[in-house]
Amino acid sequence: MFTHKPTAVLMFAVLLGACASAAEDSPRLGTPITEAQLQGWDLIVAPDGSGLPAGSGTAAQGQAVYEQKCAACHGMQGEGTPGVPALAGGSPIATPPLMTAGSYWPHASTIFDYVRRAMPPLAPKSLTDTEVYQVTAYVLHLHNIVERDFVLDRDSLPTVQMPNGGNFIDRSQVQR
C-alpha cells in the first residue's frame, strides 16, 4: 500500500513526473482486479519464497513422479539425454564446464517456478503443486543439496542454499 513517509512520497513523485506527459492523455481503461482473483493464475515464485503455494513434498516422494514424467528426457539420475539438459552433476569450472540445475542455478525457487510453468514440455502446468514440490526436492536431492526426506514447502524452500548461489554478478544497473 501507499505509505506517507516523505522520502517514499518523493520517489513516487519522481516516477510520476517521468510519465506525466503520457498520463495526461491516457483514457485510463484498466479494469480493477484483486490479487485474490489471480490465485492459481500468477505462477511467479521468487527467491524469497513469495508466490509459493500451500503443500509440501520430499525427494523420496518425488522419485516416482520424476521417473514417470521427467526421466525419459532428463535421464534417471538427471544426467540428461542428447538435446536435453542435465539437472545434476558437473561444475561451471570443470573442463568442459557443466551448468546444471544443481551445479549452476543460484536459487532453488527457480526450479519450482520453471517446473510449474513450463514442464514437462508436452504438458506444461499439468503437475499439481504437491508434485512440483516433490519433483523440485528430487532434483535438489540428485545433486545432494537436500536429504531424501527433507520436506520442501513454502517456508523451507527459501532456506535452501544452492552451491553456486554466490557466484552471480548482478549487472542490472551496469549496462554499457
Partner: protein, 435 residues
Amino acid sequence: MNNNKSELELAHLHEQLRSESVAGNGLINRRHLLGLGLAGAGSLVAGNVLAADASGLVIPAWSKTPGRELSGYGSPSRFAAGVTRLAPQPNAISPGTGASRTPLHLLQGTLTPNSLHFERHHAGIPDIDPAQHRLVLHGMVRQPLAFSYEDLLAYPQVSRTYFLECSGNSGANSGPTAADNSAGGIHGLLSCAEWTGVRLSTLLEEAGVTPEASWITCTGADAASLGRSVPLNKAMEDVIIALYQNGEPIRPEQGYPMRLFVPGWEGNVSVKWLTQIKVTDGPANFRDETSRYTELLPDGRALQFTYSMGVKSVITSPSGQMTLTRRGLHEVTGLAWSGSGAIRRVEISADGGRTWADAHIEENQQALTLTRFRLPWLWEGGEAILQSRATDTAGNVQPARAAWVAMYSPANRYHYNGIQSWAVSAQGEVKNVYA
C-alpha cells in the same frame, strides 16, 4: 564488345581506382569514385549478359498480356521465393522450441519484413484470441488492473524503429572452430522493425506504482509462460507494449496480440504474448535469467542481467558462402548496431585488420536501430579478409574476436559481439574464418 570497356580501358580504370585507395587490398574512397564518374559498377564489367547477346532487345511476354489479379495479402515474387528465414528442423522433444534466422545476406536496407523477422520460441507459437487475452498489471501497485486488447488499442501509441537481437546471436563464432555458414546463419538472430504500441509508463502510472517497487516481472501466455524481470527505471524510460510491427498487427511469431518491447536489450526480455506484469522489489530469477542468458566467466562466476546488446557490425555482402564471380568493383555492405546508442562510425578492412577505412553511413543515425554501411572495393582476384568494426555514440568499439573470447568461459555463447572475418579466396569463395 558493344558498349563495354575494352580490356585496355578496364586496366586503365583499375589503375586509376588503385590510386584512390583508402586502405589496403582494394578499398576505394567512395567520393573519389563518384568524382571519376565510375559509380556504376556495370561500366567496369568485362562482358555482361546484355553484351553477350548480339541481338537487340525484344518486348517480353509479360508486357503483352494482363498480369494476375489483385490479392488480399501480398506475397513476394516467385523469383524471390528463396528469400526465406533459415529455419531448423522441428524439435521432437520440445515442440516449437528453437530459432529461425533472418537471411541478412539476402536483404538490403535496414528494415526486416515481418515474414522474415527472426524467431526464438521456448514452447511454440500460441494461437491467441485477442478477445480473450488479458494483460494484468499487479503486485506493488495501488490498484491492480486488467487490460483487454481492445482497451490498449484506445491508448495513445508511439512508433519507434528498433533492432531486436537475441542474446545468443552469433554465438557460433565463440566456438573453437569457425563454422562454414552464411551471414544470416551466424548473425540472423537480428532484425529491425518499426514497433508501435503503448508506453508501459502510461499503464504503470494508471495502476500507481508503490514506493518500495524497483522491478517488474513479466510473463507470456505461451506454453512455457516465459518470464523475465526488468528494472523499474528501464520500464519507466522507453519500454512499450508493442501492438503493431511495421504497421500491421504484430505477427503471432512476435507475440500477437501484444509483446513487451525493451529497446536495445537482449531479445529474450521483450516477452512475447505478454499477459502479466507484476511489480516487485526484486527480480524473479526466472529460468531464462539464471540457467540461461547469463554469461559464464573464466573463473566460474557468471554475469547476470547483462541486458544491453554490445556494439556490433557484420558485412552482409560479400559474406559467407557467397562467391565473387567477376573481378572488378564491388560494394562491401553490412549492418551495424548498438544497445547503447547510435552508430557513429564503421570501419572496414580488406587485409585482415592491418589497415582500415571508414565506411559510408547515412547521417543522423537513430539510436537502437540498424545502420547500413557501404564502401567500394576493387577485387582483382587476390586473397582478402574482410572485416568491419563499429563504434557507437557512447564510445564503445566492437572488440576483436580474440579479445571477446578472453573475457569469458569457453562455455559462454551469449552477448558475442566480436569482429566477423570473411576470407575471400583467389577463386572468389567467401568463408567464415577466425582471423
